[in-house]
């Protein structure tokens, strides 16, 4: 690699780091993304001047096809479909790593140098990283495809369990690693990389298929991390530091997000991947019959809201399912105009991927300074007149605080029950994903309003407007 190319790659790496750094504030984030995109453009242009490139035909075909598909995907996707989209893109990143590493293997074995390099120390490392790139890249590709298909509803999102699941995955992983070892020992065994790809394909599918739909935020984050790691390994294969830097940044980013998601659900990563939680979910049995709830009408709620001075809205994924973000924003705007202090409390797992709920509300024009994360708003509930829960359940279940045998126990929750009045807008009394009955619904200060979130909120908006006129 000549000096000017190396320096340009360093400049791209700096652009990536600056771009990610600017994501620390919503004000600078968009510019940060542009910096990163510029870094990428620089890296691509500089690579095209590389003297190793002799023929541009395939490059141009590839860039044009990829560019068109990319633009189509990015402009067509809906904000609710973002998790599938990111999952799919992760998968493509993984696939690219596998292909590049395998092409490099073919090139090396096509060279006459193959017999000499078996003895060399450096090339041992190259072969080992080729095997790892291929392995991680393929697992990422097929794992992401399964995750996206589950999120998109193409395949059943409930955990699909099979016997000896942990053992199967362990054996597959061990076999793939052992084969990689064999390849390092004798790089001329051309069929070994193909076997690794085959095993990794099966592993990608079998490791994601037992995970339930509600745990997908973890899987998507993990796949994000894998795609970065696969890129970093490819960097070792090609001895290219910009690949190593970018891949590593993405790898750590995915790991940090995975960790945040696991903490927010109070589960270990192993538990998410292997336990198949939610497989035996049966709402009818779980609902208790002795307790009674008091049913309120939207009129009652509008009366309470009229006298409220502070409102915290707790949105859950049910809000997005009902497509009620816009009408919720309308209601909030009416309240804000009347001088009510309205804020949104966003639990880390509200939505189908990290930060998903914020994007959905931003799309509905909710100002981002009203979107507060759990730690920043949790102490404010006790001084708040109304906590308005729309489409959320497990994240406000007080059982998480003390009920030791509950699957929710220990999970950090929003203290919605501490508010003076709790308003819950929900379709039915069915428990959430964890199957734990929510005692918040039976509290004395809770007003349950049953029905479709969108219809209820529209009803409320209508009444509040009439009141104002």
């Amino acid at each position: 690699m000549n000096t000017s190319i190396a320096i340009a790659y360093l400049a791209s790496a700096v652009c990536f780091i600056l771009g990610l750094k600017m994501l620390s504030s919503a004000r600078t984030a968009r510019r940060g993304n542009l910096y990163a995109a510029f870094g990428m453009l620089l890296a691509i242009v500089v690579t095209l001047t590389d003297q190793r490139i002799l023929d541009f035909t395939y490059i141009i075909i590839g860039l044009v096809i990829g560019g068109c598909v990319g633009v189509l995907l990015a402009t067509r996707v809906q904000m609710t479909g973002m998790p599938q989209m990111v999952g799919l893109l992760n998968g493509f990143g993984g696939a690219a790593s596998t292909l590049v590493a395998y092409a490099e293997y073919l090139r090396l074995s096509g060279d006459a140098a193959i017999d000499v390099f078996t003895a060399s120390d450096v090339d041992t490392v190259v072969i080992a990283t080729i095997a790892l790139s291929v392995l991680i890249g393929t697992v990422t590709f097929f794992g992401s495809l399964v995750a996206s298909a589950k999120l998109h509803g193409v395949i059943r999102s409930a955990p699909i369990l099979y016997p000896m699941q942990k053992q199967t995955n362990a054996v597959l992983l061990f076999a793939a690693l052992a084969l990689s070892g064999v390849l390092v020992y004798d790089p001329s065994l051309w069929y070994i990389p193909l076997l690794v790809i085959g095993l990794a394909t099966v592993l990608g599918v079998t490791s994601v298929i037992p995970v339930g739909g509600a745990d997908m935020p973890v899987v998507i984050s993990l796949m994000n991390s894998y795609s970065g790691l696969a890129g970093a390994m490819t960097g070792f294969v090609l001895n290219n530091n910009v690949l190593i830097i970018s891949g590593t940044l993405v790898g750590t980013s995915g790991l940090i997000l995975t960790n945040i998601m696991c903490k927010a659900m109070n589960r270990s990563l192993a538990n998410v991947l292997f336990a198949g939680v939610g497989a035996d979910y049966s709402p009818e049995e779980a609902a208790t019959e002795q307790k009674t709830v008091i049913r309120y009408t939207p009129e009652d709620v509008s009366y309470v809201l009229e006298h409220a001075q502070s409102v915290i809205i707790v949105p859950g994924y049910g809000l997005a399912v009902a497509q009620a973000q816009h009408v919720l924003h309308e209601l909030a705007s009416i309240l804000i105009k009347r001088g009510v202090n309205v804020r949104y409390a966003i639990h880390p797992v509200a939505g189908r991927m990290p930060g998903h709920m914020n994007v959905l509300l931003a799309e509905a024009n909710v100002s981002y300074d009203l979107l507060l994360e759990m730690d920043r708003i949790n102490d404010d509930f006790q001084n708040t007149d109304v906590a308005m829960i729309v489409g959320a359940n497990d994240v406000v279940n007080p059982a998480a605080r003390y009920k030791k045998n509950s699957p929710l126990y220990g999970m950090p929750i929003l203290n919605a029950d501490k508010a003076r009045t709790v308003m819950v807008c929900k379709r039915s009394l069915n428990p959430g994903f964890a199957g734990e009955d929510n005692e918040l619904f039976y509290l004395k200060n809770t007003m349950m309003v049953f029905g479709d979130a969108k219809a209820t909120l529209m009803n409320l908006v209508g009444m509040m407007k009439k009141e104002a006129a």
């Binding site: 790659y9 990536f16 990610l20 994501l23 919503a26 984030a29 968009r30 993304n33 542009l34 990428m40 691509i44 690579t47 490139i53 395939y58 490059i59 590839g62 096809i65 990829g66 560019g67 990319g70 995907l73 990015a74 402009t75 989209m85 990111v86 992760n90 990143g93 696939a95 690219a96 292909l99 395998y102 092409a103 073919l106 090139r107 120390d121 984050s221 994000n224 795609s227 890129g231 490819t234 960097g235 070792f236 090609l238 001895n239 530091n241 910009v242 690949l243 891949g247 590593t248 940044l249 993405v250 750590t252 980013s253 995915g254 940090i256 991927m353 990290p354 930060g355 914020n358 931003a362």
Partner: protein, 101 residues
């Protein structure tokens, strides 16, 4: 081990620390754009794909390289565009802010 490899390992370890430092400063508000944006950055594998597709050796290696260029380009273009689309929506309601203060 060769010097080049040692340097690569240095880069890898140091980049991990940089990653942890900058990523943990990203607020939960922006975690989705962080994922799609960082995902686009991991499409840097495109650089490797370009060389594999253009080496002119012909045969399987070049075809694989071309497919790699296609998927990596989807990753890069789709990732950056969709991130921009999301970040564009994050707005502060200035009118209300002004009225309140």
């Amino acid at each position: 081990m060769s010097d080049a490899l040692i340097i690569s390992i240095y880069v890898f370890v140091l980049a991990t620390f940089v990653g942890v430092e900058i990523i943990s400063k990203v607020p939960p508000l922006l975690h989705t754009p962080l994922m799609s944006g960082s995902n686009a950055i991991s499409g840097i594998t495109l650089v490797g794909s370009l060389i594999a597709a253009g080496e002119g050796f012909g045969g399987t290696s070049v075809i694989l390289g071309m497919i790699a260029v296609v998927v990596a380009t989807i990753n890069v273009v789709g990732g950056f565009l969709v991130t921009d689309r999301m970040l564009k929506m994050f707005k502060k309601d200035r009118g209300r802010q002004g009225a309140a203060s």
